[in-house]
């Protein structure tokens, strides 16, 4: 279990994920050696699951981002598994979430432009299995996107 010092480190790290280790140690009030040890342990125990590079898809020419929401036909017992397996095969899918609520599943999908989106939608999205209802939210702008937690 992470203790108060671990939480202090994580709070600072989530607030500023690009922070260097020396600065992080100072802000969290620990020595660099202790920081190293604690980060190592948190990665080993899975408190920190991963440190990933964030890719800006727009910079790679993907201008369109769509949030697709699905309701599945639950009379089919394998609906979730089959749907997720099929969604994983679509390279333009960047996120898959499952929910308890009026929506069962959500996909984040990126496309180069509207023409590419139309092709993707017709060939890869409409063909996903066991869908009883779906709707799309087209991203206009991201106003806030932070990772911080009030630890």
């Amino acid at each position: 279990m992470p203790d108060a010092t671990d939480r202090r480190i994580l709070r600072q790290l989530l607030l500023d994920p690009e922070i260097g280790n020396a600065e992080l140690a100072e802000r969290a009030g620990v020595t660099p050696a202790s920081l190293w040890r604690r980060l190592d342990r948190m990665r080993e125990t899975g408190v920190i699951r991963a440190v990933e590079s964030r890719i800006d898809w727009r910079k790679l020419g993907y201008e369109v981002q769509v949030s697709l929401r699905f309701t599945l036909d639950k009379t089919e017992p394998r609906a979730f598994d089959n749907f997720v397996a099929a969604a994983r095969k679509v390279p333009e899918v960047t996120e898959i979430q499952t929910f308890l609520g009026s929506v069962d599943l959500r996909l984040s999908v990126i496309a180069r432009d509207m023409a590419h989106w139309q092709d993707l939608y017709r060939d890869s999205i409409l063909t996903l299995p066991h869908v009883s209802d779906s709707d799309a939210l087209m991203l206009v702008s991201t106003i806030k996107d932070v990772q911080e937690l009030s630890l």
Binding site: M1, P2, R7, L10, L13, L14, P17, E18, G46, V47, I48, R49, A50, V51, E52, S53, R54, I55, D56, W57, R58, K59, L60, G61, Y62, S67, V84, R88, P91, E92, V93, T94, E95, I96, Q97, T98, F99, L100, G101, S102, V103, R106, I110, D135, A136, L137, M138, L139, V140, S141, T142, I143, K144, D145, V146, Q147, E148, L149, S150, L151
Partner: protein, 155 residues
């Protein structure tokens, strides 16, 4: 910096794939995996970073182990009558610490939010005291997240 799309070659994509998985990999490690020298790999990573393709880091934590067991996605439609300005709504919603993501969208909703709470009771408090009191708020739809998977994308 220009906003023009960066045209990555196969090597750039391979580097992105490795770093998207683990950003702490050194240029030497990435180079070894791809049969490249450390300096050549380092130059490519630098170029991808300077072009803004590598936009930063995401720390993926076990939120449940840290006492944040509940993530809720909200769809928000602003009220049509007496419509408050988008700026007022956006200013107020971004100030809520539990709201991690705010996106302006087109479709059935005007905004989508990602909210992090300790438990369902905590979420109810956030919903009632913070969300339902936002200027211009209309219809709200909440879906509690059960699982999440991030995919590498078209790399």
């Amino acid at each position: 910096m220009s906003d023009a799309a960066f045209s990555p070659d196969a090597t750039d994509l391979a580097i992105l794939r490795l770093l998207a998985e683990d950003a702490t990999r050194s240029a030497a490690e990435v180079g070894r995996a791809l049969g490249m020298t450390q300096p050549a790999t380092w130059r490519r990573i630098k170029r991808l970073t300077e072009a803004g393709v590598i936009a930063g880091r995401r720390i993926v934590v076990d939120e449940a182990a840290l006492g944040f067991g509940v993530t809720v996605f909200l769809g928000i439609r602003l009220a049509a009558k007496g419509r408050a300005s988008l700026e007022d709504f956006e200013r107020a919603v971004t100030a809520i610490p539990e709201v991690q993501t705010v996106q302006h969208v087109l479709g059935q909703f005007d905004y989508r939010l990602r909210v992090r709470a300790r438990d369902i009771a905590d979420f109810e408090r956030i919903l009632r005291r913070r969300i339902m009191t936002l200027p211009g708020i209309g219809q709200v739809e909440a879906n509690v997240m059960l699982s999440e998977e991030r995919r590498p994308g078209p790399l």
